[in-house]
C-alpha cells in the first residue's frame, strides 16, 4: 500500500473518525485507525466496537487532486499518534506500508515509522445490505436530536432510558427521550419506508451531530435488527442499538388542564436560570413557581445559608385557574427552554403533583413534560 495525500484533507478525516475511538480500548486493534487504499480512494475507519465511523476520501475533491494512489492495500495504525502527528506536519504526506510492522509516513524532512496492526484483525462494519432505509433532511434531523437527546438518562441504571426512541412510520419520524422525570418529544412529517421503532444510544446521536456539523445535504438512515446507520456524502456512522422495550409514552399527555399560561420564552429562561443558582445545593434544583391572581408569575428559590432570590414576570395570557403553586427541577426547565426556538411558550398545569407540559407557541411538533418535585 502506498499513497501521497494532502495534509489538511488527511488530518480532517483522521480527526473525524477518531471521534468513534476510545484510546484506552482493551482491544489493542481498536486503539488504531484502519486505512484502506482502494482503486479510486482512501477509506478510513475508527470504532469503539459500539460505534463505527467510516470516511472516504476520493482522489479528487472539488476538482483538485488531493490523493495520489500508488498501490492499494490496508493497515491499522495507532489513532492517537497518527492524529497528533498529522496535525503537526505541514507538507504532503506519503504513507507506505511494506507490511503491518513496517509503516512509513514521510513529510518534508520528517520520517515516522509505525508498528501497525494487520487490517484483517479489525472488526467488520455492521452489514447494512438489504436494510430498510429512509432519507431525512440534515437540518431537520439535527434539530430533532438537539431538542430531545438531552432529556435521556445520563446513567446506565436503565439502559433503555440512556437511549432515545426513534419511531419510523409511513408518514412521520419521531424522537422521544426521557429519564423518567422529564420527557422531550419531537415529530416531523417524513415519507418513510421503515415501519419500526428503535432505541439509539444518546452518545451515537451526540457524535453524529458533531461529525456532520458542516453537512447540509440529506442523510440516509438504515436500520437492521441490531444496528442503525447514518450515511451522508463520504461519511457514515454505524451504531449498535439498545435492546429492550421503550416505555409507552402515548398515555402521558393528559386531556385535562387546570391552568395554562403563556410566557415570553427568553425572559422565563433567564428567570429560571437565575433561580437555579440559589437552587443548586438541592438534589432536584428546587425552583418554586407561583401565580396569584393571574397577572404575574413569581419565581423563587433559596439556598440554606447564603440567601434567596425572588422575581416577578408578566404573564402574556392565562386560561383556567389563576392561582397555582408548584416546585420544579430548575435545570430540567432550563435545558428544555434552551432548545425551544420560538418566542413564546405555553405551560399547562394540572395541580402541584401532576406533570407540567411545555409547548412552543405555534409549533405543535414539540412538547416537553416535567414532573414536579415534592417540596416542603
Amino acid at each position: 500500500m502506498e499513497m501521497v495525500i494532502k495534509k489538511d484533507c488527511f488530518a480532517k478525516a483522521v480527526s473525524d473518525v477518531c471521534r468513534a475511538i476510545s484510546f484506552k480500548s482493551s482491544m489493542p486493534v481498536l486503539t488504531g485507525i484502519k486505512l484502506v487504499v482502494i482503486e479510486n480512494g482512501l477509506v478510513i475507519v475508527g470504532s469503539n466496537s459500539d460505534i463505527f465511523i467510516e470516511k472516504t476520501i476520493p482522489s479528487f475533491a472539488d476538482g483538485v487532486k488531493v490523493l495520489d494512489i500508488i498501490e492499494t492495500g490496508s493497515v491499522v495504525i495507532s489513532a492517537k499518534y497518527l492524529s497528533e502527528i498529522v496535525k503537526k506536519l505541514s507538507g504532503d504526506i506519503r504513507l507506505r506500508v511494506k507490511n503491518e510492522s513496517s509503516v512509513t509516513l514521510a513529510s518534508d524532512d520528517v520520517v515516522v515509522n509505525f508498528n501497525g496492526f494487520h487490517a484483517e484483525e479489525y472488526p467488520h462494519l455492521p452489514n447494512m445490505m438489504g436494510a430498510d432505509y429512509c432519507k431525512v433532511g440534515w437540518l431537520d434531523l439535527v434539530e430533532m436530536i438537539k431538542q430531545t437527546v438531552f432529556a435521556a438518562s445520563a446513567n446506565d441504571y436503565h439502559p433503555v432510558l440512556s437511549g432515545v426512541c426513534m419511531t419510523f412510520r409511513e408518514k412521520y419520524l419521531s424522537i422521544a427521550a426521557t429519564n423518567s422525570h422529564r420527557l422531550a418529544f419531537k415529530k416531523i412529517p417524513l415519507v418513510c419506508e421503515i415501519n419500526n421503532n428503535v432505541i439509539v444510544p444518546s452518545k451515537t446521536l451526540h457524535e453524529l451531530i458533531k461529525l456532520l456539523n458542516n453537512e447540509t445535504e440529506d442523510i440516509h438512515i438504515f436500520i437492521t435488527e441490531n444496528h442503525i446507520g447514518f450515511k451522508a456524502n463520504n461519511v457514515s456512522l454505524f451504531s449498535r442499538l439498545i435492546g429492550g422495550i421503550y416505555p409507552n409514552i402515548d398515555g402521558l399527555l393528559s386531556q385535562q388542564c387546570k391552568t395554562s399560561i403563556t410566557l415570553n420564552k427568553n425572559r422565563f429562561l433567564k428567570g429560571i436560570d437565575r433561580a437555579c443558582l440559589f437552587a443548586s445545593e438541592w438534589k432536584n434544583n428546587n425552583v418554586h413557581i407561583e401565580m396569584q391572581g393571574g397577572i404575574e408569575l413569581i419565581i423563587s428559590s433559596a439556598a440554606t445559608e447564603v440567601g434567596k432570590i425572588r422575581e416577578t414576570q408578566p404573564v402574556l395570557k392565562v386560561d383556567g385557574d389563576p392561582e397555582f403553586k408548584i416546585t420544579l427541577n430548575g435545570d430540567f426547565l432550563v435545558s428544555a427552554l434552551k432548545v425551544i426556538k420560538e418566542d413564546n411558550v405555553i405551560m399547562y398545569f394540572n395541580g402541584h403533583m401532576r406533570p407540567v407540559l411545555i409547548e412552543p407557541v405555534g409549533n405543535s411538533s414539540y412538547y416537553y413534560l416535567i414532573s414536579p418535585v415534592r417540596s416542603n
Copy 2:
C-alpha cells in the same frame, strides 16, 4: 450602606477580585467578597489569605457616572453567588445593607437577599506603609514573567523552587525560576530604589498577568519583609512571599563551550514538538538531538510499541566541535522555545552530561539552561 451601580462595571470588578478567592476556603469569611462603600467610590476585596486583590470603582469612569453612593458602609457576601448572579442580571444594581444578615440586591424585578458576614471579620490587607518600591513598565513586566515563571517547580516539595526569585538592584530587575532541572533567567534595566531579592509564589505572578491583562500603564511594586504588592490604576494585588534562601545561580553559566549552533527558532520548536509526541511515554520526555559533520541537526524519539520519529533540520551556523549527541527533556525545550520571540536561537553544548544553554540571537537579556537526561 447603600449604592446603585452599573451592572457591567460591577460584574467585571467582582469577577476580577474572585481570582484571589478559594470558594472552598476553610475560613467562611474568605469565601466572601468584601464590599466597602466610601465617600467617593466602592472598594472590593477578595483573598485566599495568601493573595489579596483589591479593586476600586470611582463614581465616574471615563466621564460617565457608574456608581451612585447613597450611604457608606461595608459588608462581606458570598463570592460565588454574588459573581454568578451579577452576570445574570441586566439592569442597574441597587445594593442595600441594613446589617450583615440583611443584604438586599435588586435589579429590575429581581430581588436577592444575602446572609452576609460582618466586614470586621475580614482579614486586613498587608500593610505597605513605608515599603520600598519601584516602578516598572507593564509590558516589560509581563514579558519577564511569561519568559520565566513556567520554569519554576510545579510541586511544593521544595517550597523555594515553587516560586521565582525577583532581584531588585540599583540599575536592574531580574527574575530567575528553576525546578533544578532547568532554569529560566531574564534581566531588564530599571532605575530602582529597592535593593533586595525576594521569592514570589508562581501562582501570584500567574494571577497578576491575568488580572492586569488590559492595563498598559506602569506598575508600582512594593516590598516589605513578608509581602509584595503590585499596584496599577484602581487595582492592586498583594501576596505573601516565600521564606528561605533561593539557590545561587551565578555559578551555573559555564565559561567554556565545546559546540555552539544557531537554529531557526520556529522550525526547531516544531521539530521538538513533533518528537515530544513519541517521547510522551517517558518520564523525562526523552528527545535525542544529534549532529554529524556540522551540517544537519537530527531530532529523534521513540515510543516502545507504537513507533519512532526522526527528522533533519538545517543548522544556520556552527562553532566548535561539529559532532555531538545529547538527550534532553523535550517538554522543557518546547516551553522555553515558545516564550522566545526572536527568529533564531543559539544553543551551547558542553558534552552530553553537561547543561545546555539556550539564548535568543541578538538578545542577551534572556537565557535558559536545561540539564540533559541520562539515556541508554
